[in-house]
């Protein structure tokens, strides 16, 4: 943590305030239709007045994102451990893991609804599918980068494969896992909202219905809440990473 948190928080907040004020002035001056681009003040008004519908929707989306992220975190690490077991396994299966990276979630979301039905399960599946690859790829990179001299050391003392995994390889890969989770957090929000477009519920369905009612201000408000969710998740992963790595990893030691 910096000694002066104010110096860290102030610049982005100032950018935000100035940017919003500028948008307000320009939109008023050009007299843009609120259907195309509502004024920031109108968006804020919608965000507070419609909080009764927005907040439960946010909670539903957040729940799906968290479950999806927990699944991609745990299964992603497990998959990476499996892939790291041998170069042959890696060659045989890694190309198919890449599938998760290149799959167009918009195209696959209807499939997920067919498999899991309308509702939160399909949404969780969508959040999971788009967020697992960065966890697999980063964890695998971490597991494969273990210092060979340390592997020798563990062999010298006759460590079992399980002890080596638990005491050497997983801790070694931990910074990489956090990098993967940071990327996954943002992707999971995208996945959940796309899932909700098709599968229903949460901020995703709120966006589509607001669009049909021509409530562009409400669409913006929902997008704002979704961004806040993504930011909060990103910060939470960062906090966990700092907590876990502060003693030892260069990325999180105090500067």
């Amino acid at each position: 943590m910096s000694a002066r948190p104010l110096a860290r928080v102030l610049p982005p907040v100032a950018t935000f305030v100035v940017g919003v004020a500028l948008a307000e002035v320009v939109i008023r001056a050009l007299d843009v239709s609120p259907l195309i681009l509502p004024r920031p003040s109108a968006v804020f008004a919608a965000a507070t007045q419609e909080a009764g519908t927005l907040l439960p929707a946010l909670a539903a989306t957040a729940r799906a994102v968290l479950i999806g992220l927990a699944l991609s975190g745990s299964l992603g690490v497990a998959a990476a451990v499996g892939l790291a077991a041998s170069p042959w396994i890696q060659r045989a299966f890694y190309p198919y893991a890449i599938f998760f990276q290149i799959v167009p979630i918009v195209a696959i979301a209807p499939l997920l609804v067919i498999w899991f039905g309308y509702g939160p399960r399909a949404v969780v599946a969508a959040a999971f599918v788009v967020s697992i690859f960065p966890v697999i790829a980063n964890t695998l990179a971490g597991l494969l980068s273990v210092d060979p001299a340390l592997s020798d050391l563990f062999r010298l003392y006759g460590a079992s494969a399980l002890a080596t995994l638990w005491k050497l390889r997983l801790p070694w890969a931990l910074p990489y896992v956090f990098t993967g989770l940071r990327i996954a957090a943002g992707l999971a929000v995208i996945g959940a909202i796309v899932g909700e477009f098709v599968g229903g519920g949460g901020l995703g369905i709120l966006v589509t219905s607001a669009m049909r009612q021509q409530r562009t201000d409400l669409v913006f408000a929902a997008v704002g809440y979704a961004s806040l969710l993504g930011l909060a998740l990103f910060a939470a992963v960062g906090f966990a990473s700092r907590l876990a790595l502060r003693h030892w990893h260069a990325s999180e030691t105090e500067r």
């Binding site: 340390l150 050391l153 010298l156 003392y157 002890a163 005491k167 050497l168 003693h247 030691t253």
Partner: protein, 259 residues
């Protein structure tokens, strides 16, 4: 005393396949017998197969031809029979000093109370008691190397293998660690095999120096030093020491030319 173990390499060959150079012969017919409780330095130019030899002795690698004898007996000791100190300290950065030193005992399945006691002792032995709760990232290079030494000694090994352990340290730290290592060797009575490319370090530390040639590594000189058991810094300025340096330097030159 006399915890040390004797071992011998007989006609050991080892080659590697490399994409750039094809077949690389690291060791070509090494015969080397090391007596129990002795301190032997293995001296040679970089890339002469010294580390390969050490890995063979440690059982981390197998020779293509020839045998490594004697270490079966060591396995009946009360600790892990041998320990190794690497070129870098090779500590687990997420563990503090004590937990790093306790690692080998943990892997050998020793009870927690014994691990804690032995680790405290070993850390005190290398003079790091005050730093025992610190993490490797908070230590200097010399301190990290002392932790590595303490970790190696924690299992009370009968053979200690060191692979250019102090090469990356500054001269003063290195001399201090040389003295510490010699003292630990004399106290524990273990066998030490010390790999180095420094003539002065080999002469100062060891009883006997084995000089290897350039790749493929062969023994150029097997020389018992005529120096007192008590090694102090004054020794470095004496004629006897200079004479030994000359002998080793000659052999190293011959080994470099012969390949």
């Amino acid at each position: 005393m006399g915890r040390g173990v004797a071992f011998a390499l007989e006609g050991v060959h080892r080659s590697f396949r490399s994409d750039a150079e094809g077949e690389v012969r690291a060791l070509a017919g090494i015969d080397l017998a090391v007596a129990a409780g002795s301190f032997v330095a293995l001296l040679g130019p970089s890339g002469c197969g010294k580390s390969t030899l050490l890995r063979l002795v440690a059982g981390l690698d197998r020779p293509d031809r020839g045998v490594v004898r004697g270490l079966e007996a060591a396995a009946t000791g009360d600790g892990a029979p041998l320990a190794m100190v690497f070129q870098d300290a090779e500590l687990l950065p997420w563990r503090d000093v004590l937990a790093n030193v306790a690692l080998p005992l943990e892997l050998l399945g020793r009870p927690a109370a014994e691990r804690a006691r032995v680790a405290e002792e070993a850390v005190a032995q290398v003079g790091l008691a005050d730093a025992r709760r610190r993490h490797p990232g908070e230590l200097s290079g010399g301190m990290r190397m002392r932790v590595s030494l303490a970790r190696a000694l924690a299992t009370r090994p009968r053979l200690l293998l060191l692979d250019e352990p102090f090469a990356a340290l500054d001269e003063l730290t290195r001399m201090a660690l040389d003295d510490q290592l010699r003292r630990l060797w004399r106290e524990a009575g273990i066998t030490v095999l010390f790999v180095t490319h420094s003539i002065a370090e080999a002469a100062y530390l060891a009883e006997r120096v084995v000089v290897l040639s350039r790749r493929p590594g062969r023994v150029v000189l097997d020389h018992t030093l005529a120096l007192p058991v008590e090694r102090t810094h004054e020794l470095r300025a004496e004629a006897a020491f200079a004479r030994e340096l000359g002998v080793l330097q000659d052999a190293l030159r011959r080994g470099a030319a012969s390949a």
